[in-house]
């Protein structure tokens, strides 16, 4: 049995669970607006605490064994944290695809596309709210009633174009 990977698996899972409990407690007290900063910070705090406990109580005999355990736990913690962070966007943003499915499911005999009414979604909820996010994040500039893209926003779009071209996809997604 490979002790380093087994210990790394247990440490990685324990640290993610610990981080998630901290995240749950903080969110129950006050949900931070800047979650892309706070969420990874809290989840990696769990990793730091779990690692300190592991090294104090169960540290391996050799230095190289400890390095393998910590590297495998860190890799697991990183992919779980990044995956959860991406999934969290779906938790707070209410996927329009899911709303479409719920709306279609509400018609037992099916529905024609032109008759489909997704009444849980509005222009303001879908577009207006996101335009406000982009303005407050400094990606879009508002000048009186007109909006235009900032250089950082332009850079993000150009990055997505390059990435999509690498996947042989059209340059722009449908949203």
């Amino acid at each position: 049995m490979n002790c380093a990977i087994s210990s790394g698996l247990l440490l990685g899972l324990a640290s993610f669970v610990l981080g998630w409990i901290l995240h749950f407690l903080v969110w129950r007290i006050k949900r931070p607006e800047a979650y892309p900063i706070w969420l990874p910070l809290i989840l990696f705090l769990g990793f730091a605490v779990a690692t300190a406990i592991y090294l104090t109580c169960f540290g391996g005999i050799t230095f190289s064994e400890n390095v393998e355990v910590l590297a495998s736990a860190l890799l697991l913690q990183t992919v779980l944290t990044a995956g959860y962070l991406m999934g969290y966007a779906g938790i707070i943003e209410y996927s329009p695809s899911a709303e479409v499915l719920y709306a279609v499911a509400s018609y037992p005999g099916g529905v024609r596309a032109q008759d489909l009414d997704v009444n849980s979604l509005t222009d303001e909820f879908l577009v207006g709210k996101r335009l406000d996010h982009l303005v407050s994040a400094g990606l879009v500039r508002q000048s009186k009633e007109r909006f235009s893209i900032e250089p950082i926003g332009r850079l993000i779009v150009e990055f997505t174009i390059v990435y999509r071209r690498m996947l042989f996809e059209p340059p722009f997604g449908e949203g």
Binding site: M1, N2, A4, I5, S6, L9, G12, F24, W27, R31, S64, E68, L75, L76, V79, G83, M86, G87, G90, I91, I92, S95, P96, S97, A98, V100, L101, Y102, V104, A105, G110, A113, L116, V118, S120, L121, T122, L126, V127, L134, L139, V140, R146, F147, S148, I149, G153, R154, I156, V157, T160, Y163, R164, M166, L167, F168, E169, G173, E174, G175
Partner: protein, 177 residues
């Protein structure tokens, strides 16, 4: 090389293969003249990488160069690879389905727009139509006799999980419209 390092390196190679194989499957669709869908290709890439990593973990054991192969190695590799596959797919999905990114692309294509101009180009109807097309491609919706019905459960299952997390974290379960 120690057993632990071998498992770690196998996982890292698997992670790197995920976007590469997604591109390869898209290229195959393009050469064949089929519709390209990175959502579909990402699923195919995930299945392929799972098989590659499984074989890579079994091979050294078969040739006795590994001390032994145990369940924790497979559980570890499966967790890392599938979490990385979720990240890789989400990264593409962000460029494809994110409304924030789409609004940015609308401003990228023109000098400036008013909110009314933006809504004339991108609004609820266009978003719902794009989602219906994508859900049909992904076999989550079916079009039969001109009527849409729910065909798959994967997206709905994801939505139900999101609802559960909202409930636990004290976030409103349904959109506050």
């Amino acid at each position: 090389m120690s057993d632990g390092t071998y498992v770690l390196l196998t996982c890292v190679v698997g992670i790197l293969l995920l976007p590469l194989l997604t591109a390869v499957f898209n290229l195959k669709d393009k050469v064949r003249g089929s519709d390209i869908s990175s959502h579909r290709s990402a699923v195919a890439a995930t299945k392929t990488v799972n098989v590659i990593v499984l074989v890579a973990l079994l091979l050294p054991a078969a040739s006795n160069s590994f001390s032994s192969v145990c369940l924790p190695e497979f559980v570890y590799a499966a967790l890392v690879i599938n979490a990385a596959a979720f990240i890789s797919w989400n990264f593409f999905a962000m460029t494809d389905t994110s409304m924030h990114i789409h609004i940015l692309t609308e401003f990228y294509r023109v000098t400036d727009l008013s909110k009314a101009d933006l809504l004339a180009r991108y609004r609820k109807d266009t978003i719902v139509a794009a989602r219906v097309r994508r859900l049909l491609t992904l076999d989550q919706l079916r079009l039969q006799d001109g009527k849409l019905t729910v065909a798959g459960r994967t997206v709905l299952l994801g939505a139900e999980m999101c609802k559960l997390f909202r409930f636990v974290l004290g976030i409103p379960i349904r959109p506050p419209v």
